[in-house]
Each structure stands twice: as structure tokens, then as C-alpha cells.
Symmetry: C2
């Protein structure tokens, strides 16, 4: 079994003053259907950006999986998806755009078979901590900290035929906000719980979770692949480190058009604090079919 | 008086197969305090990206101000702000990243005094039209289509000492969601109305409006410059073309931390349809002062 940290292993194949090129391997676990999960690909880009940033700054700060909030880390990552990558070998080409006192910027291209498949801009800053000035209500925080027995668990469900990540994470969907699982329709809001199968949620995991939900358009009876065009993820805090603790998420859309929809994840940790949020613009599936959730 | 379209004038100073360099002039009207307004700078980047895209594709499609929704236009623009630009001459360096059947991507750097001050990724696609699959409630659509007499109008207010755009646009804030104007505090949600002083709202104007609101942290008693780190704007539709019609916006934050806050604009046209939306990550003002709105 591949652990969550194994996929983050990087090997440098080229470097100069403002570019470092890594190779990495994407295990087939990190796929939705045949293609690499967008949030997992972004997680790899974020991790490579951070590794390169530590090199450029000669920093002794810990790797991203052990970030302690004292040193600059990626706080905002926008990835534009040019082509859907396949599992297997990729190159991660990190380029230093700006090194600043408050904010630094690193671009990362994901290259596969000599083609750029994802291009990302990663902004570095200091994570928040302490009491927030204001936390407004979110549909994620309304969930109980742990999934109830009647939640829709990924493990053992037909969804595992599509979402292949169950070896590395637990995922449970709130049945009230996933009517698609019963062949019913509802508002474009899907909520749920997620945690790593082992260890605690770290910043790379939060990045992945910011794109974990099934497409909200499933609740409108629209099934099929809803390709992400662009995905902006904000990492806000390091999750509380209780082993076995779940993160909660809500994924919702304000406006589902005929061709495109935006979709926002809000992710809170077991204490209810916002640890990550994302917004993406995605395409309505080209050939929507009215079918079961696993269709 | 400088019209809204004058600032969009571009002159080509260099071009090759995959890069076009333009110069433009940013009038001091488009400033907040001494620095260029982030949404106005993004408007210029979007417009330059579109002009370059028309050249690369040999397209006869209209310029962005007259876009009719039939041809690809910018649908998602993420800008990262490296340094706050000053009014005056800028260069806009557009580079073709991908030309695709469904989605194309153009990067644009804004360069001033030989320094890259803003870097943007612009995704092209086809705007939505027709009946949306689903529009969820937004705090923008709850406003009446026109500002009431007791709205907080920019024209003639002390805010014009900070926001200099009143020669080209009308702006009115909903008094109920702008308690800062009365020295009071409230939730981090500011709503209002905006329209061009002449003509109708076009796609460049929607881009600008997606960053028109005062910082929501003012409602928490936090004043001062709240620098935008990164701003992602989605253009969803061409606004209805009624002369004199107002756009409505709501700007809100889920999580205002000690160091950073996210801030989302939703913009609807006079018919209530979502025409634009944005999310930004911004810094809490470095030296917050508890003072009046114009402080």
C-alpha cells in the first residue's frame, strides 16, 4: 500500500539559480476514473514548490508535511489544467518568480510526456494562528466532528470504482446533502468528512481535500466527468493534530450555468477552524447522463 | 475626463509567434490612495490577453468591450500582485500558453519600470448564456436593482479622497452592510451598486467591479491598506445592456484571520443573473487604526 507521503517523494534532475526540476511518480491510487485527481496533482505541485523554496532560501524549515507555521509556506495556489494527466512519471518544474519579505511566488509546471499538463502559481506567506478576527458560519462547521453511522462511506461503496483513493484516506458523505446517492436531486451542496488512513492531516493533505468532493452538479442530476479548468486553493492553518480526527468539508456552487459552474470547498478541522478553502471553475459534463451516482 | 474605454487603449511594441508586448497608460483616476486599483489593473491585463488572443487566432471577433458571447473570451483570470503599481506607463506582456479546442490559456505580466508588478493567468472559454441549471441565493441579488436614496454614494462623499474612480463610475454602498461609515461595526459583508458613468457595463467593467468593494475588514473596525495577494476573477456572462442599469455586488469573507483574510465578490446584473465573481486573499492592514471610514 502506498502511503500519503510516498507520493510526495521528489528527485532533483536539474537545477539552477531560479529553476529546479523534480521527477515524481503518481500512483494510480490518486485517480478519479482513469485520470489523476486534480487536488492530488495540485498537492504535488505545492509540495515541489515548497521544496524548491527551501533550497532557494537556504532554509532549515521542515518539509511541508511537518510545517509548524513558523516559516513561509504556500498559502495560495492557483492551478490551470491544460490536459488531464495520467498516473505515472511526471516532472515538476519550479521557477522562482519573486522572493519578498512578506510574500514570495513560485511557478510550477507539471510536465508529462514532454507536455505541460498543469501550470500553477504558488504564493508563499505565513499561515494564520491564534483567535481569528471573525469566522462566519459555514455549511462545513454545521456538521458534527465525526461522521454518523448513516453517512455514505467510500470504503465498500460502488464509488470506489470511480474514486480510487480509499487505500490512503477515509471519506464519508453527508447523506442529507448527497441525494444523488439515492437517485434523487437537491441543491448543489455536498458535505462530508475526510481523514488520512494513517497519521494526521498535514498541509499537503489539506490541499488534496480542497478538491475531494464529487461534483456538486451530481445533485442536479448531471453525471459524468466535470473537468476542472482552474482551481485556486488557500491554505489557512495547520489542522489540529489529533490522530484519527476528521476534517469536514462543504462543497457548493452559487451559479451552475449551461456550460460552466464554479465550485467552492470550505474545509474545517476537528475544532471547527477553517484550514483550507478552494474555488474552481469547471465544465458541465459534455455528455450528461441521468444515472446513478456511480454511472 | 478619461472614459472607461480610454484606459484600455493598447500599443504594440513587440511581437513574435507566442508573445506580444503592449504599452498602456494608467490614468490616476484608477487608484485607491496613491496606488493602482487591483481590479483596474486586472481589467487591463484581461483586455491585453484578449487582444493578443485575437491576433494569435486570426480572429475577426469583436474587442472585449463589444464581446457578444459567440467567441472565446477570458472566463477565469488569476492575478498575483508582486508590487503595487503606480499610475502611468505600463507594459503588458502576453504569452500564449495553450491554444485548445475548448480552453486556451494566456499569461500576462504587467511590467513597470522594468519590474514585473503583477503576473496573471487568463483562461479563455465560451461565456454562459440561457437559463442556468441553478442559481443559489446571493446577498447581491437580495438588493433592489437600484440604490435607494439613503445609500452611501461615492460621489460627493469623503471616500472620494481614497477611491478616485468617481469620474468614470457611480458607486453606492448599502448602508445596512456598511456600518463602518457610521463608526459602527458589523459582519464582514459589504454590498452595493455600481455602473459606468456613461455607456453600459461590458466585460472589462465587470472585471473591475469584481474588486470594487472597500475591504470587508472595515466592518470589523480594521482600517488601512489591505493589500491583495492574489485575485481570481471568473467572468460568467455579458451583463444585460440597459443604459443606466446598475450592477449589484456583495463582498464577504468567511474567515478573517489575524494575518490574512479571503474576500469574495459576487456581481449580478439588473436582471439578477450572476455576471462575475471573484475571490482574493488579502493581508490584514499592517497598522490597523480604529478610525472613520475615510481614515
Amino acid at each position: 500500500m502506498k502511503g500519503l507521503h510516498e507520493i510526495l517523494a521528489l528527485a532533483v534532475i536539474d537545477r539552477d539559480d531560479d529553476q529546479i526540476v523534480y521527477t515524481a511518480q503518481i500512483d494510480p491510487i490518486y485517480t478519479i476514473g482513469p485520470k489523476v485527481h486534480g487536488g492530488s496533482a495540485q498537492m504535488l505541485a505545492v509540495n515541489a514548490a515548497h521544496a524548491a523554496f527551501l533550497e532557494w532560501t537556504g532554509s532549515e524549515a521542515p518539509a511541508l508535511v511537518r510545517a509548524d507555521g513558523q516559516s513561509p509556506v504556500p498559502v495560495a495556489i492557483t492551478s490551470t489544467y491544460l490536459n488531464a494527466p495520467n498516473p505515472g512519471a511526471i516532472e515538476l518544474r519550479a521557477r522562482l518568480v519573486k522572493r519578498g519579505r512578506t510574500v514570495s511566488v513560485v511557478d510550477v509546471d507539471v510536465v508529462q510526456d514532454a507536455r505541460t499538463v498543469i501550470t500553477s502559481t504558488v504564493v508563499f506567506g505565513i499561515l494564520d494562528h491564534g483567535e481569528p478576527h471573525r469566522s462566519r458560519p459555514t455549511e462545513a462547521r454545521d456538521l458534527p466532528p465525526e461522521p454518523p453511522a448513516d453517512a455514505f462511506f467510500l470504503d465498500g461503496s460502488p464509488m470506489t470504482e470511480i474514486i480510487h483513493m480509499s487505500p490512503v484516506l477515509d471519506l464519508a458523505l453527508d447523506p442529507a446533502s448527497f441525494p444523488a446517492s439515492r437517485g434523487e436531486q437537491g441543491e448543489p451542496v455536498i458535505r462530508g468528512w475526510v481523514r488520512p488512513k494513517s497519521g494526521v492531516a498535514d498541509l499537503p493533505f489539506v490541499t488534496l481535500v480542497c478538491d475531494i468532493s464529487p461534483p456538486v452538479v451530481m445533485n442536479l442530476g448531471i453525471f459524468g466527468w466535470a473537468p476542472t479548468v482552474t482551481l485556486s486553493t488557500y491554505l489557512r492553518r495547520i489542522p489540529s493534530g489529533d490522530p484519527g480526527a476528521w476534517l469536514r468539508f462543504a462543497n457548493s456552487s452559487i451559479e451552475v450555468g449551461r456550460g460552466m459552474f464554479e465550485s467552492d470547498h470550505t474545509v474545517v478541522d476537528s475544532t471547527g477552524v477553517v484550514v483550507g478553502q478552494s474555488r474552481q471553475l469547471a465544465l458541465i459534463p459534455a455528455k450528461p447522463v441521468n444515472g446513478p451516482a456511480a454511472g
